[in-house]
């Protein structure tokens, strides 16, 4: 390749290579698009803060055993270390089982991340499939699938999740399934709207004329075009997913003790609210910061990936 980037290490050389109007390879074109997106994204300080919070969450979750000074489950001395206020030894105080709240919050980030990632992995493909199939095939398939979607949309999310958890039994896995079941309908809506916009375009017609099967058209040509607006929506939804999971945990239907789930930790702290406020306050702040991070990140991504929706 002429003018290989390795030979021009200065930043202007890199930038020129990235912004080249005539990319030599797909990779170069993709990296160039990515760089442009990043430039727009990084101009928005709030979005960068959001990204920072989300990255911090991932790092804390990965290195929880290095960061946390104490065990999240085993408590200290119940006679002397119960319900201690924040101090140098226990940064955020201790709870009723003499466990260090900071360590529990650090380990709890794993549960939060686990919930968010799994819900996204379950709900997004369902929504994507339902939406693209409905939009592409149209007719009665569209009517039936969209009516089902509307029915699920008709339930308030938390209440439907509650009913599902009631049926499946409390526990973190069931909470994840319940939240995923209640999360996919908006994705199906978005995917359908995007599909309707592309289904009559020339390139779909040309693929069809080349003899591509319907599943191939949907999976290979329609789905990729719906992904970017779905990513925005899923990121914006993550805060809601975290809040729903925490709400289920608070009601005692999510993660079960002694798991350090943040919502359940707030519920424990409720019994000591007036005299030992830190037991309830600290995990709530963690929930707030993380969902704020996802909201800021989602707003920033929307501005970059979907300029139409930005107000």
């Amino acid at each position: 390749m002429a003018g290989s980037p390795a030979l021009s290490p200065s930043s202007t050389g890199w930038r020129a290579w990235l912004l080249s109007p005539e990319p030599h390879s797909r990779w170069q074109a993709r990296l160039g698009r990515f760089y442009l997106g990043w430039r727009a994204f990084s101009r928005n300080p709030l979005a960068v803060i959001g990204l920072g919070i989300v990255l911090l969450l991932i790092l804390v979750a990965l290195f929880a055993d290095v960061i946390a000074p104490y065990s999240p489950v085993a408590g200290g001395d119940l006679r002397t270390q119960r319900l201690l206020p924040p101090s140098e030894t226990f940064w955020l105080g201790t709870d009723d089982q003499a466990r260090d709240i900071f360590s529990r919050i650090v380990y709890g980030s794993r549960i939060t991340l686990f919930v968010v990632v799994l819900v996204a992995l379950i709900a997004t493909p369902i929504g994507l499939l339902v939406g693209t199939v409905a939009g592409y095939l149209g007719g009665w398939v569209d009517t039936v699938l969209m009516r089902i979607t509307d029915i699920f949309l008709a339930f308030p999310r938390l209440v439907l999740a509650l009913a599902f958890v009631a049926a499946l039994g409390p526990g973190i896995e069931n909470a994840i399934i319940a939240i995923a079941i209640t999360s996919w309908p908006p994705y199906a809506r978005i995917a359908r709207a995007e599909t309707l916009m592309v289904r009559n375009s020339d390139f779909i017609a040309s693929v069809k004329l080349q003899g591509a099967s319907t599943p191939r058209i949907i999976l290979g040509h329609v789905v990729p075009l719906c992904v970017s607006s779905l990513i925005v929506r899923v990121t914006l939804d993550m805060a809601g997913i975290i809040l729903t999971a925490a709400g289920l945990g608070f009601l005692g239907l999510g993660a079960q003790p002694p798991m350090p789930e943040w919502g359940a930790m707030v519920a424990t702290g409720r019994n000591y609210l007036i005299d030992q406020w830190w037991v309830a306050a600290m995990p709530g702040i963690a929930i707030f910061v993380v969902s704020l991070g996802f909201n800021l990140l989602g707003d920033g991504l929307r501005d970059v990936l979907d300029p139409k929706a930005a107000k």
Binding site: F155, V159, A167, A246, L251, A281, L296, K311
Partner: protein
């Protein structure tokens, strides 16, 4: 003749729309019932054992099973379930032994009271904030409204409620604690509407009324905050849309005062989509009440559902879920109808 034909045509298209509406409503409600029926079937708890206990002899077990209709084919069970649900019969609550519908009628006014007050606060504070943010775009106030919205979308409602109790009840003593009214006042009035504020005011029990006010203040403000976070954000974006329209320039050129242009002309046009937003936020508050009611020990539908959940009382849980779902659907429908009624372009 042709005019008459036009009338008939208009009537026919109107009837067609009504029919479409009814069909959509009916299928959605049927779908809601189907979802709760399905949830009720996947429960690992055997409803027969829940009634007779696990030591009952086989013939008792079999008889109860038949009485509950569990020996029939699933589809037949579903038809029976739908018929019962249509008449408001969700079975009896295991916990209270009353019919679930009676329980729900008893607790629903409490939820309604809270959600309505919350929405009123959200509208009264949220709309002016949104309008001002749009008019002074980029100003400090605009930033403030933005932060208010972001925090509202990110903060766990149950945690904010607890912190509110800690600050305003425990530390400052400005409001009363959890519950709807102090026990001392609770026998001074007879419940008529089930809405304590109305009942006490109508019966002239002003001491009880003010006590109820101090109880409702904090949870209502909490729900009001979540409502206003949403309403102000939407108002802002609708108003930005309207202020960019040409009629606004025309009104200004005509010499109308800025106040009149903003509050009479632009806001009135933004009001139509706002109705949908307000209805949606009202519906969301019904949902938000599940967690709020738990925090504030508010004896409403949300607390009824969570209490029943903790006691594996599936009839009550599913009945409550169905009622909230139905209210949700109806609110959406009402907002849709209002939208059509108020916006001449949709006719």
């Amino acid at each position: 003749m042709s005019r008459g034909g036009g009338h008939v045509g208009a009537l026919r298209s109107f009837l067609k729309k009504v029919a479409q509406f009814v069909i959509v409503l009916a299928t959605t409600l049927l779908g809601l019932v189907a979802v709760t029926f399905f949830i009720g079937r996947v429960v690992p708890i055997d409803p027969v054992i829940a009634i007779v206990g696990d030591r009952a002899p086989a013939h008792v077990y079999e008889r109860v099973r038949q009485e509950l209709g569990l020996d029939r084919p699933l589809i037949e069970q579903f038809v029976i379930y739908v018929k019962k649900a249509a008449t408001g019969d969700f079975g009896n609550s295991v916990l209270t032994t009353n019919p679930v519908m009676t329980d729900i009628i008893n607790v629903f006014p409490a939820t309604l009271e809270l959600a309505t007050l919350g929405t009123i606060i959200g509208v009264i504070v949220g709309i002016p904030l949104g309008v001002l943010a749009a008019v002074k775009r980029g100003s400090l106030l605009d930033q403030f409204v933005r932060v208010l919205g972001l925090v509202g979308y990110s903060v766990p409602i149950f945690w904010l409620g607890l912190m509110g109790l800690l600050l305003f009840y425990a530390k400052l003593g400005w409001v009363a604690g959890p519950g709807r009214i102090d026990v001392t006042y609770s026998y001074l009035y007879t419940p008529v509407t089930g809405i304590v504020l109305l009942d006490t005011a109508m019966q002239g029990q002003w001491d009880a009324f003010w006590d109820a006010v101090s109880h409702v203040l904090l949870p209502a403000c909490l729900l009001g905050y979540f409502s206003l976070a949403y309403i102000s954000r939407m108002t802002r974006s609708f108003m930005l849309n309207e202020l960019a329209q040409e009629y606004v320039i025309a009104a200004r050129v005509k010499g109308l005062s800025e106040l009149r242009v903003i509050w009479r002309h632009a806001l009135r046009n933004a009001a139509v989509p706002l109705i949908t937003v307000i209805a949606l936020s009202y519906a969301n508050l019904l949902e938000g009440s599940v967690l709020t009611e738990t925090v504030f020990a508010w004896p409403g539908l949300g607390q009824y559902i969570t209490n029943s959940l903790q006691n594996a009382d599936m009839n009550a849980v599913l009945g409550g879920t169905l009622v909230i779902g139905t209210v949700f659907v109806l609110l959406n429908l009402v907002s849709d109808l209002l939208y059509r009624l108020l916006d001449p372009r949709t006719r």
